[in-house]
């Protein structure tokens, strides 16, 4: 029988003060990056605009493509290499011009450019302004509603403190992921949104496993053990499961990141960051907050009692 831990008894909860600093530092780094860069870089899914993905027979360069596009007044387009140097993505902002016309003009100017050689247009996407805004809002509503659902479920099955702490952990994970996106200059696209939803699910799953263990232990009611100790036991008892599950998720995310192609890269990146922060936040955000919150409430209940005893 292979075992990673045999009856582990690390003091996780005791070091929570340090963890708060770490959590705050990471979320702050993300927020600072987001603020400095003027918010997230949204993909055209959310902003509206036209996207053209081209594959050239000869390796091309951003400069050559820009030179070609400048001739038709589209030199300001965002041009990015997508995977290998044969493939590029061109993004044009919303204009009055119809997308098929713009596509045709782009095709015409690049066909006439000997420096670029032969190419194939592999993907054209156009998102109108109304659709982009609708998508942003609806995605936000969907996520907020989903989070509210989690809060209610945990509040009913466990308690409100646990629900609120789990939600704070979810927000922490999402913020860290968004910060990581911002720092690595990745765009917020639909696949990234899907990855964030996955991370929310994963984070909540992990948190509930810890809560569940705590509830089971409390049922046995060991005397003289502080709430922090009980929580620490629950975390330790589920530690091997936590590590094993995180490892399998990490394996999968790393493989997707390395071999999934450019289409899956951003998705896998968020999954990777999220798997780490999701595991971390169970102990050091959700459990830690529940412990301090409970201590605070019990402290307030106890103090007046002492006052009564004195009198």
């Amino acid at each position: 029988m292979i075992e990673i831990f045999r009856n582990p008894n690390y003091d996780f909860i005791g070091k929570r003060k340090w963890a708060y600093y770490v959590s705050i530092a990471f979320t702050l780094i993300g927020i600072v990056s987001l603020v400095l860069k003027g918010g997230l870089r949204y993909d055209i899914d959310f902003t509206g605009g036209t996207l053209i993905q081209v594959r050239f027979e000869q390796p091309a360069s951003v400069d050559k493509i820009r030179a070609s596009l400048s001739k038709i007044g589209l030199g300001e387009s965002v041009i990015q290499q997508f995977g290998d140097p044969h493939e590029f993505i061109l993004r044009m902002p919303l204009t009055a011009e119809r997308p098929e016309q713009m596509g045709r003009r782009v095709q015409a100017t690049m066909s006439g450019d000997a420096a670029l050689g032969k190419f194939e247009i592999r993907r054209v996407e156009f998102v109108g302004p109304q659709v982009g805004r609708d998508l942003q809002l609806q995605a936000l509503y969907a996520v907020l509603a989903g989070v509210a659902g989690i809060l209610i479920y945990i509040a009913v099955r466990f308690d409100f403190k646990g629900g609120a702490a789990a939600i704070i952990a979810v927000f922490h994970d999402v913020l860290v992921c968004l910060g990581a996106l911002s720092i690595t200059n990745r765009e917020f696209s639909l696949p990234v949104l899907a990855a964030l939803l996955t991370i929310i699910g994963y984070s909540v799953n992990d948190t509930i496993v810890a809560y569940d263990r705590l509830r089971e232990n409390r049922g046995k009611s060991v005397r003289g053990m502080s709430f922090a100790q009980q929580m620490n036991n629950a975390v330790n008892q589920t530690l091997s499961r936590t590590v094993l599950t995180s490892l399998t998720v990490l394996f999968s995310a790393v493989i997707l990141f390395l071999f999934g192609g450019r289409t899956l890269e951003d998705f896998a990146f968020v999954l990777l960051v999220g798997a780490i922060t999701g595991t971390y936040s169970t102990t050091y955000v959700a459990a830690a907050i529940v412990v301090d919150w409970t201590n605070y409430v019990e402290g307030r209940v106890r103090r007046p009692k002492k006052a009564v005893a004195k009198a």
Binding site: M1, Q130, Q138, P191, A195, V204, L244, L271
Partner: protein, 518 residues
Amino acid sequence: MRRNLGLRIGLVVLVVLGSIWYLYPPKKTINLGLDLQGGIHLVLGVDTDKAIASQTERVAEELKSALEKKGIGVTRIAREGNSDVVVQLANPQSWNDAQTVVGEFPNFERRDVDQAAGRFRLAMTPREVDRIRDFAVRQGVETIRNRVDQFGVAEPTITREGTDRILIQLPGLQDPERAKALIGKTAHLEFKLLDERTSTEDAQAGRLPETSELLYQRRIDKETKVERKIPYVVQKRTLLTGAELNRAEISADPNSPGNWQVSIEFNAVGTRIFGEVTEQNVGKQLAIILDGNVYSAPRINERIPGGRAVITGQFTVDEARDLAIVLRAGALPAPVTVLEERTVGPSLGADSIRRGLIAIAASAVVVFLFMLFYYRLSGLVADVALGLNLLILFACMAAFGATLTLPGLAGIALTVGMAVDTNILIFERIREELRIGKSPRAAIEAGFTRAFRTIIDTHLTVMVTAAILYNFGTGSVKGFAVSLFVGLSASLFTAYFFTRLLFDLIYGGRRKLEAISV
């Protein structure tokens, strides 16, 4: 849990067989999204205001002729805004007679009544406005479906989205430009007389009688690709529309070799009107107008009794064929605009799915091997359970006719993660029970029971979230939610019925259980 062993085996076998039945053959049963197989995704916005305006316009015309028939003179009757008609009677004395006629239009309410001046306004009732909006979108969906069917696309999706949008998905299509032209064309065919008294120069300078309008014929030179616009002054009154069409066929254009034309044939009503119009206007030019563009304006030489006409315009065979399709399928009740368009070339779809599938398969293999290595025989049980989980998931997707997209694959990834977690929870719990000195059989019993409480909570929370996402989300968020919800239901099923069953089968038979491989 030794009880009901036969029943539990039966249930699992039933589920497996059912899944295979739904899944076979997989190429036909699993719908791949456009991001995975290539094709066109279009969201069209229906300009329902235009539909209301043209209905109001029609009512104004009808009201005018109804009043004239009763001998009630009007100095002005016109549409105002989208849904109002203003009427100015020539003589306020005829007020009461006029109101009787107005009574025949129950979908309009009288407003701003000024009896002394003989003036009133008719406003379309809100109920009628809603009905027309709804009808315009429904009719639009029908018309587009009709066109796409005639065009010949395999498994198109054409559905209404929200109140005024139409979602169109055409998988695996090779020529997106042509399909878009075919779908987006309003195809409003009109026959109008030329206004031969006003010169095109005067019209372009803005000197145009109120009853006429300036339209253009667009000709694209086949070699230079330069568009030429030829102006025509056309009387506003529509004599006949495409609504009265019976047939539209293509044939070679006898006057212009290499080009094609569309021959049309009117229905009985259209044939009668066409006969009258041509009889009364011999020697004049009749313009054939499609979506505001003049296609041709042949001179009428004599009365045409058979209800046949020809639309020429230097069409290629494809252009002529597409025009015939849109004319047969009928006009859209309101113009549409493209709000969102995604065209994925088939090569990109194939590329992304191949790379994605290889990566997903690789990560699955790593997880399988890891479980086998760490948990030995129990790991094998978990792997088989995971396989069954995916089988059920794909079978359900096939049974619901759900479409598998990239976000859908994300949902499956989370499902697989949680399904593996389920097994890890159970096995770790069994190991723990063994450590505190329980007998192997008691440890299995306690491990499953204890772990199961946790599993139900984790699954239900995420399923609640998935259900909410499905209700609040759009397209891709919905795809994620569906595969996640279905996958987690399958995961609960396999954990409760299948993993436990395998344990019972492997260890249950032995009278004395010494050790378990976990």
